[in-house]
């Protein structure tokens, strides 16, 4: 009932094009994150949905209504702002009820909603306090409460946890997930923290310079990034990239050589489209998939620049012979040391492949991962 469909949305400020044709289909009850680096247009997109920005073109539908030209107040949405935007001169109860009262709602209905929201968020004892007298986490709860009392069809949250300290952020994250479960209402959540996006959402919209780079479940983004941007953005430490050339193609089997590779690498893809031999491809490999091997087996040869030992794992920063940088994650406190020569193997089954335009060349996943992804997708539909 409250699904959202955004078509061809464009928005600029003066000559600066910020959103360059956004298309999104968000299902009813879904928890969706907008994820992307600073300045990519996340807030602008959210504010466009809220009706706080005038669109240059495109349309937005919420449920069965076209809300493109509807006033913000009529859209049946609620928004939570990054810096809470609580009215400092009103106490918590007034903060929650202010909008309702001015829309002519009955006294007892207002009280019911306010008390209900206060119950859910455990702020009943704070109703007579002013925002000044609240801690950061409590203010955040009040801000969310102000959204809840509207009983909207759609929640919009713009980096609601970014002003909280790390511990509180984790707590509030869990609470938000529980709140979504409880209300069952569609939520859109802006963040540039990929951990937040990956743990909270059913699906994630990765934005890159005003365009949807990929829209998928967290595991899809991780295991099947659609392009170099998503591959490099999702996952920490970041995915390693090595350029190479296709030297032989036998239908869907490719042999790669040159570039950063010390030895040929042969791998299967899902497509048998011919790849131009004169254009380089990019191999992507997650740091934890690189294997330390003997010199004969090595695809990559480099020198250790720095070892960060985190206890359960160590991050080894490596400078390759061709000047590129790599990170390898090895289990435990591996006895590698600085300036040591290191030999790495790229397991063909774990690497990603991107064409010269940065688009992913589809590859099969192992059955276990594929099953996980399917599970995640079916949960969303259910």
């Amino acid at each position: 009932m409250a699904a959202i469909r955004i078509e061809n949305l464009r928005k600029g400020f003066g000559s600066l094009e910020v959103l360059k044709g956004i298309n999104l289909d968000i299902a009813d009850g879904e928890f969706v994150c907008f994820l992307g680096p600073s300045g990519c247009g996340k807030s602008t997109l959210l504010r466009s949905i809220a009706g706080l920005e005038e669109l240059d073109s495109g349309s937005i539908r919420l449920g069965d209504r076209d809300i493109t030209d509807l006033r913000s107040a009529k859209r049946d949405i609620a928004m939570v702002f990054q810096n809470y935007a609580l009215y400092p001169h009103m106490n918590v109860r007034k903060n929650l009820s202010f909008g309702l009262a001015l829309n002519g709602m009955k006294r007892d209905e207002i009280d019911r909603r306010v008390n209900n929201a206060a119950d859910i968020l455990r702020i009943s004892e704070l109703l007579n306090r002013k925002p000044r007298q609240l801690s950061g986490g409590q203010r955040q709860r009040v801000a969310i409460g102000r959204a809840i009392v509207r009983e909207p069809k759609l929640f919009l949250l713009d980096e609601p946890l970014s002003n909280l300290d790390a511990g509180l952020r984790v707590t509030m994250r869990v609470e938000l997930a529980a709140l979504h479960e409880r209300l069952g209402v569609t939520m859109i959540y802006v963040t540039h923290d990929q951990v937040e996006a990956m743990t909270l959402s059913d699906r994630v919209v990765v934005l890159d310079r005003g365009k949807v780079s990929q829209f998928g479940t967290p595991l899809e983004l991780f295991y099947q990034p659609a392009n170099l941007f998503v591959a490099g953005f999702i996952g920490s430490p970041r995915m390693n990239f090595v350029t190479a050339n296709v030297v032989r193609q036998d239908r869907s089997e490719l042999t790669l050589s040159g570039g950063g590779l010390a030895r040929d690498l042969t791998l299967e893809t899902l497509s048998s489209a011919v790849i131009a031999k004169d254009k380089p491809v990019t191999i992507g490999i997650r740091p934890d998939k690189l294997e330390l091997v003997s010199p004969e087996e090595a695809h990559l040869i480099g020198d250790v620049r720095l070892v960060e030992r985190l206890g359960t794992e160590s991050h080894v920063h490596i400078g390759l012979e061709n000047g590129a940088d790599m990170t390898a994650v090895v289990r435990g406190t591996h006895p590698v040391s600085n300036r040591e020569r290191i030999h790495l193997r790229i397991p063909a089954e774990h690497c990603h492949l991107f064409d010269a335009d940065g688009k992913a060349i589809a590859r099969a996943l192992d059955t276990e991962t594929q099953m996980l992804i399917n599970q995640e997708k079916s949960k969303r539909v259910a």
Partner: protein
């Protein structure tokens, strides 16, 4: 043994000296201000209070008269009451107009995106011009035969009145000329408007709070301290009104613009009765003080201070 004792004594002395230095240093640093305050503010204040209990001609014998100056001012001097009444009338019109017009101008400047810097400067400019120059300009504007105002009125077919010669119009003319200097008040309110977070309005807009309610329940309360401040300073400047009246109308016609400050001024520099003038100043001080305290007490009901609540306040905010 001896040596140690001498050493210890020196140490104690040193500590004593450094203690004095420690406590005195801050006062030394602010001493220019303290001296200025003592000689130019507190000194004259005490001096004028003393004066007000004396018959104090500029030349000649001073005699202590106790409360006589105050008594004769309040009970035997109709000019005191007349000038006070004119001043109150002036304040009653000037203060609300000053605040409302400044507020509307600030609101306009806050909302326009086109050439706001130019308009801000333009509206503030009259406040920079010195009083005498300003009054000269206004005397040209108000001139019956050659004045700009009457010239403009004549363009639309109105035969302009004698602004400064008509007892009913002269005070209006002075109010208008005073309002010319509202740039300062406007700037304070504009700063206040700019300090209100934009998100408050956006949050209100999303929850369907109409514009008038945003003005009434967000803008005005958030601007409360600024409004209170401008309210009080306007009252004070209204009661101190002297320059414009002195130069533009000299208190006339028929004493219709004979302000309280001018009454004090005349007693001091025309009749050379310093004691009486000092007593007048203190009466003015007490009236302004009482008004300000009244306004402040009343304001507790509508002014919200950001720092009002101190408990549980360690948390940083955005």
């Amino acid at each position: 043994m001896d040596m140690t004792y001498a050493g210890a004594e020196a140490k104690v002395a040193r500590r004593k000296r450094s203690a004095i230095a420690r406590y005195a240093a801050p006062y030394l640093f602010i001493s220019p201000w303290i001296l200025g305050f003592l000689f130019f503010t507190l000194g004259p204040l005490v001096f004028s209070l003393t004066m007000s209990f004396y018959d104090w001609p500029v030349v000649g014998e001073r005699t202590f008269v106790g409360l006589d100056n105050y008594r004769s001012m309040l009970f035997d001097d109709p000019q005191f009451w007349e000038s006070l009444w004119i001043t109150v009338k002036f304040a009653a019109i000037y203060v609300p107009f000053n605040i409302i017009m400044s507020f509307l101008l600030a609101l306009m400047l806050h909302n326009i995106t086109f050439a706001s810097g130019f308009f801000r400067t333009a509206f503030y400019l009259p406040s920079v011009i010195s009083g005498v120059a300003l009054v000269t300009i206004w005397s040209w504007i108000y001139s019956k035969e050659y004045g700009l105002l009457n010239f403009m009125l004549s363009l639309v077919g109105i035969d302009g009145p004698n602004w400064l010669g008509d007892p009913n119009l002269a005070i209006v003319a002075i109010i208008i000329a005073s309002l010319w200097g509202l740039g300062g008040t406007m700037l304070i309110l504009l700063t206040g408007l700019k300090a209100i977070p934009k998100e408050l309005y956006e949050a209100a807009t999303v929850s369907g709070v109409p514009g008038w309610a945003q003005m009434l329940f967000i803008t005005l309360p958030m601007l409360g301290p600024m409004l209170l401040f401008t309210f009080i300073t306007s009252i004070i400047s209204a009661f101190q009104q002297l320059t414009i009246a002195l130069l533009l109308t000299k208190g006339g016609p028929l004493g219709s613009t004979y302000f309280f400050a001018m009454y004090i001024y005349d007693n001091a520099f025309k009749y050379f009765d310093m004691g009486y003038a000092a007593a007048g100043s203190w009466v003015m001080f007490i009236i302004v003080l009482a008004l300000s305290l009244g306004v402040m007490r009343w304001s507790a009901a509508w002014v919200y201070y950001e720092g009002e609540v101190r408990q549980n306040d360690g948390e940083g905010h955005a």
